[in-house]
């Protein structure tokens, strides 16, 4: 049985439907990411779980109990906010101790627990600092410690790393992952960053325009996209519309608008349909001749450091080709092969 469940939750703000018929289930100890572009309703969904926003319809079930009407302070959840939301008038200690005080803990127990969580987030010795005296990364750790201190049943995180610079973000992402794994705490993690979602989660729910469009493991989401949105949102992909001519096991034959026919794998999450989309990620494209290949001209060359990226004009279709070494030059003609096991066909 799942620990937390959303059942057909809908929330409107005026005429705008922010969350539409969202259903979701998280098992105990699982880390689930809500992934989607900004404005897709992921934060609203998280706030509904926290109890900060009341849904118009649908219900939130926690340990088999309907908690839709329960105010946030009675849910025993922990939450990390995008801007940390540390209380500026309290020290680090007081910030972390707050939830424990609200639960009526004894003074010594609070001191012991605060010490423990601050150690966990590597902030020992910072107890008497004020939030303004901390760096962004440290503030983020305090926010995490504060949310974890009362050992909440569910940890909710709303884009917790989005305010940090890229390097720090990556460092904290790894640390966060090891902390969450070691605590085995049920976590719902909202992000617009797919790399973050991939690295952290057991399960990803991709949201678009207020709906969950696909739920699955990171590999499933990447390899078996359910629809064009997921296919293009995840990974760096080029999508070409076409029509599915025939299906042969897991492979399909698709005809592109320019008449070229290519073989590609059909996504398991998307039932084959005549109207189809060919999704080409850079790893599906390589230099070569023969079957399943296209004639191309190099239109642009971008040097990226560890690799070179080429933009190709291939019989009316734009493709990206990655290479470790500079092997082509602008204007040059070349043939590329599309790997049928890496190119994906989804229904439109």
């Amino acid at each position: 049985m799942s620990l937390l469940e959303l059942r057909r939750v809908t929330k409107r703000f005026g005429k705008v439907v922010a969350v539409s018929e969202v259903s979701l289930a998280v098992g105990k100890g699982e880390i689930l990411s809500l992934l989607g572009p900004s404005g897709c309703g992921k934060s609203t969904t998280l706030r509904i779980i926290a109890g900060l926003t009341k849904p118009d319809s649908g219900s939130v079930i926690h340990e088999g109990r309907d908690i839709t009407e329960l105010p946030p302070e009675k849910r025993n959840f922990g939450m990390v906010f995008q801007n940390y939301a540390l209380w500026p008038h309290m020290t680090v200690f007081d910030n972390v101790a707050f939830g424990l005080r609200m639960r009526g803990w004894a003074r010594q127990d609070i001191a012991r627990r605060v010490k423990e969580v601050l150690e966990l987030v590597k902030l020992s010795g910072m107890e008497s600092r004020y939030p303004t005296q901390l760096s962004g990364g440290q503030q983020q750790r305090v926010a995490l410690a504060r949310a974890l201190a009362p050992s909440p049943s569910v940890l909710l995180m709303d884009e917790p790393l989005s305010n940090l610079d890229a390097k720090l973000r990556e460092e904290l992402r790894h640390e966060l992952r090891s902390i969450l794994r070691s605590l085995r705490i049920t976590t719902i993690y909202v992000t617009h960053d797919q790399a973050e979602a991939m690295a952290l989660s057991d399960k990803i729910a991709v949201m678009n325009a207020g709906r969950i469009v696909q739920t699955g493991t990171p590999a499933e989401i990447y390899r078996e996209p359910a629809d064009p949105f997921v296919a293009t949102f995840i990974g760096e992909s080029i999508a070409v519309p076409g029509s599915l001519l025939s299906v042969n096991g897991s492979l399909g034959l698709i005809r592109l608008p320019n008449g070229v026919q290519l073989k590609a794998r059909i996504s398991k999450a998307s039932p084959p349909s005549k109207e189809a989309l060919l999704v080409l990620r850079p790893e599906a494209v390589s230099l070569g001749e023969g079957e399943n290949s296209l004639k191309c001209r190099v239109s642009r060359e971008t040097y990226m450091g560890e690799r070179v990226e080429y933009r190709l004009e291939c019989e009316g279709v734009e493709l990206k080709l990655r290479s470790l070494d500079p092997v082509l030059s602008v204007g040059e003609e070349a043939r590329v092969v599309i790997d049928p096991s890496r190119a994906i066909i989804v229904g439109r």
Binding site: G51, P72, M79, R103
Partner: protein, 270 residues
């Protein structure tokens, strides 16, 4: 240079119309026929001491009650769920701010009179004897009626500066409305609340209309009434000014706090 020149007329007005008479009040209160004297303060102590104490505690009590009510109203408007009741209260509570004190005083005369509306209502509810409100009770009711909404407005403007996230973080951490108020909202806005309190208290001490129209010369009364009587009936500026200096002293602690806070901020925001 140009700056000083532009400020000069305003400075002159303040010095001539405020600082000079202010200093005069202090000077006269200590001046007798043979120079320095404390006799005026002696008279204040003998005749008006009861009124000094009365002015202090009624002003203070009213400010405390107004602060508590103001905080509760502001907290409700900040934390309560958006519904018709809230928007109704949000419109309603501000009405008293729109009325000048002299109108409040006149209104309270009709409302609190021995045979006024309130006593009528109480009588029809079964109270046998009318309550006398034209004493400290009427004064406190009048002050609270006028000041509580004012304090609510100032405190609410402070509460609105507290970010939603700070409140929500407390909620999720297990804080009820009351704990959010005492642990988050009030500590984060304590200067605003203190300033509102200082202003309300100081303005209660300084108010002339309400005690003059409600209590008048009856004992005990506010020192503003005593000052007016001393001047208009006796032409006795010395005692009036000694009383005036006492009223300065009554607000001094709060005034110094307020002035320090304001000078620190540099300038008011609009």
């Amino acid at each position: 240079m140009l700056g000083s020149l532009l400020v000069l007329p305003a400075l002159l007005v303040i010095v001539l119309l405020y600082l000079y008479p202010f200093g005069l009040a202090v000077w006269i209160s200590f001046s007798g026929e043979d120079g320095f004297t404390l006799e005026h303060y002696q008279r204040v102590y003998e005749v008006y001491w009861e009124d000094v104490i009365f002015t202090f505690w009624t002003s203070f009590l009213s400010a405390v009650i107004a602060a508590v009510l103001g905080i509760l109203i502001a907290a409700y408007l900040r934390l309560g769920a958006d519904d018709p009741i809230k928007s109704f209260i949000n419109q309603l509570y501000r009405i008293p701010i729109f009325l000048p004190m002299v109108v409040v005083a006149q209104m309270m005369r009709g409302f609190l009179a021995p045979h006024g509306t309130l006593n009528m209502a109480l009588f029809n509810l079964g109270l046998s004897q009318p309550i006398e409100f034209f004493d400290w009770k009427g004064l406190v009711i009048g002050f609270v009626w006028k000041q509580a909404p004012f304090m609510a407005l100032i405190i609410l403007s402070g509460f609105l500066m507290v970010k939603d996230e700070h409140i929500e973080a407390a909620r999720v951490a297990g804080a009820s409305d009351l704990r959010v108020l005492t642990e988050i909202l009030l500590p984060m806005t304590r200067n605003t609340v203190a300033i509102a309190f200082a202003l309300a208290y100081a303005s209660n001490v300084a108010t002339f209309t309400l005690p003059y129209m409600l209590i008048g010369g009856a004992k005990p009364t506010a020192i503003t009434v005593d000052i007016a009587h001393r001047v208009t009936f006796f032409g006795d500026w010395a005692t009036a000014n000694a009383l005036g200096v006492v009223s300065f002293l009554l607000v001094s602690v709060f005034a110094v706090f307020y002035l320090r806070e304001m000078v620190r901020r540099g300038v008011y925001e609009r």
